[in-house]
Amino acid sequence: MTKKKNRNVGIIGIGMTEISSHKENQNQPEMINEAVRAAIADAGITLSDIDCVVHGNMELFEMIHQPDLWHMIGTGALGKPGFRITTGGTTGMTLVAAADNLVASGMYDVVMAIGFNKLQEAGSTTGGITNMADPLWYRHLQTGALTSTSANLSIEEFGEARARKAAMKHRIMMDKHASLNERAHRRFGLEYDQMEDLMKNSPPLIGELRLIHMCSQSDGACVMILASEKKAKKICKKPVWIRDHIAVHREETASNAYFPILSETSQRVAARKLFTRNGIDNPVEYFDVFEMYDPSAWWGIEWLRDFFLLEGDEAIKMVEEGDWDLDGKVPVNPSGGVTASNPISATAMLKPAEVALQMRGDAGRHQLKREVRHGLASGFGGVMWTELMILEKDLNW
């Protein structure tokens, strides 16, 4: 299946709050306003230049419905056309995908996408996620997004010692990246010689999944402004281009997602289809950076194999050899990833936002040394839904 855009779309503005565990000095519209102002300033435009606003979060975390209406004073959307999007963990990237579609279609020239969650407000993120389970038969068992099922399968395939070490190495690598990122929430300053200690002493949550493996529970907002090629070139010195994106939905029950009943994961299906229709034969060679929605270190090492269409132990070997590091073959999560920062419905937008900042050379202390021309970003949500997006520095594909 081919997919052609009606017209090209560029990212012209990026704004984000600092990601932290608590934002007691701001309510929701105030937090969002901080990111909206930053994005508009980054684009060098005014609110009147925005034609449409798409807004999204997972409502069950703050327990407030239609937040787009009472956020009006923070978003500046009053009187503008708008949409509200809430697709679970993928929300942040679905917002960008929707904004891209709205601009590419010719419907609007400039669209602002706003993703946020303030997880501190409802207190129990895991309780909230459990609410997505079927109330009739599965809710009494589900424990949010906490699961060891991926770890169990990795251990069976690669052996206990090798799999545990790979997951912990990935986790420490993420922390090292986060430590360079001034916007990241958790920056522990972990060192590789702490691996054995963490594998033994980090509190166990579920099976092989320990507290240190799991993503954070964060507050934060991310805003991206997208514009048509013509407008983007006029407004912005360094627009970053959205080449293509795909959403792949998974099975119909969480049980089936935790023991995949299909031969391919949604991550692999998304990658295979997206790379095929864009003529990308060797993703490890092609991409200069990958920002991955890795909710846990165990899922991280599993999905690297799928996203790069690798086989057997190729991805784990690349973990062991440091190929995903900042100076490796494909730098993964220079931002520190989701185990460092997870304001859920901003999370999947922080992925393409970080790729775009890397392409512009504006990432800050964690700016990659290589030139970033081709970037990949992923989103994840229950039940194993995958969003995958290709970004390009130059308009030449």
């Binding site: 990026i14 704004g15 984000m16 709050t17 600092e18 007691e24 000095n25 701001q26 105030e30 901080e34 102002r37 930053a38 300033a41 980054d42 327990m63 129990s124 895991t126 309780g127 909230g128 459990t130 609410n131 109330p135 009739l136 038969w137 599965y138 809710r139 009494h140 068992l141 589900q142 424990t143 949010g144 906490l146 699961t147 060891s148 099922t149 169990n152 399968l153 069976e156 001034e182 916007r183 509190p203 166990p204 949550l205 579920i206 099976g207 099975e251 119909e252 029950t253 969480a254 049980s255 089936n256 935790y258 023991f259 009943i261 299909l262 900042l357 504006d362």
Partner: protein, 161 residues
């Protein structure tokens, strides 16, 4: 890209107000899941079979999401099955509806019921069996004496040995 809120509100104006929500819910099953829950009352597991790909769905769904066709033929699966994966919980997350917190550890098992080709059904495993839990182990259901047509009609699986 990042701005900091420079307003310094006095601490006594930064107030958090705690609210505990208690919500009464009622979820209709529909006829397909209704058959499933009536089956549990009679210690039976009913799945539906897809007329196109032939797979069974446990619990039953009225449509095969893979083939996008109606699937209203019921077949009985189980009662025994094979553990395909499992989660042993050490962290007590609260039930989102009641706020109740389970005692730990407890475990969920992802079971391929006998007669089911690939679909997975999940329930708890008997706490005493947790140390012997591994992939491939055979399990059988343990039923509640009082059955009302709910998921709690089945207490848990236990290892079948």
């Amino acid at each position: 890209m990042m701005t900091k809120d420079k307003r310094n509100a006095p601490a006594e104006e930064l107030i958090s107000i705690q609210v505990v929500n208690a919500i009464d819910c009622a979820f209709p099953t529909g006829s397909i899941m209704g058959k499933w829950f009536r089956g549990l009352k009679e210690k039976k597991f009913y799945a539906t079979r897809c007329p196109s790909c032939g797979r069974t769905m446990t619990p039953p769904r009225g449509c095969c999401a893979l083939c996008v066709v109606r699937s209203e033929e019921f077949v009985e699966v189980g009662p025994k099955g094979t553990v395909e994966n499992y989660d042993i919980a050490y962290y007590a997350s609260p039930d989102p509806l009641t706020g109740k917190v389970r005692s730990t550890p407890y475990a969920a098992v992802f079971v391929r019921m006998d007669g089911s080709d690939r679909d997975i059904f999940t329930h708890a495993i008997r706490d005493e069996d947790i140390p012997r839990l591994k992939r491939g182990v055979r399990v059988r259901p343990v039923w509640n004496e009082v059955r009302t047509g709910s998921i709690e009609d089945m207490l848990y699986f236990e290892i079948d040995a």
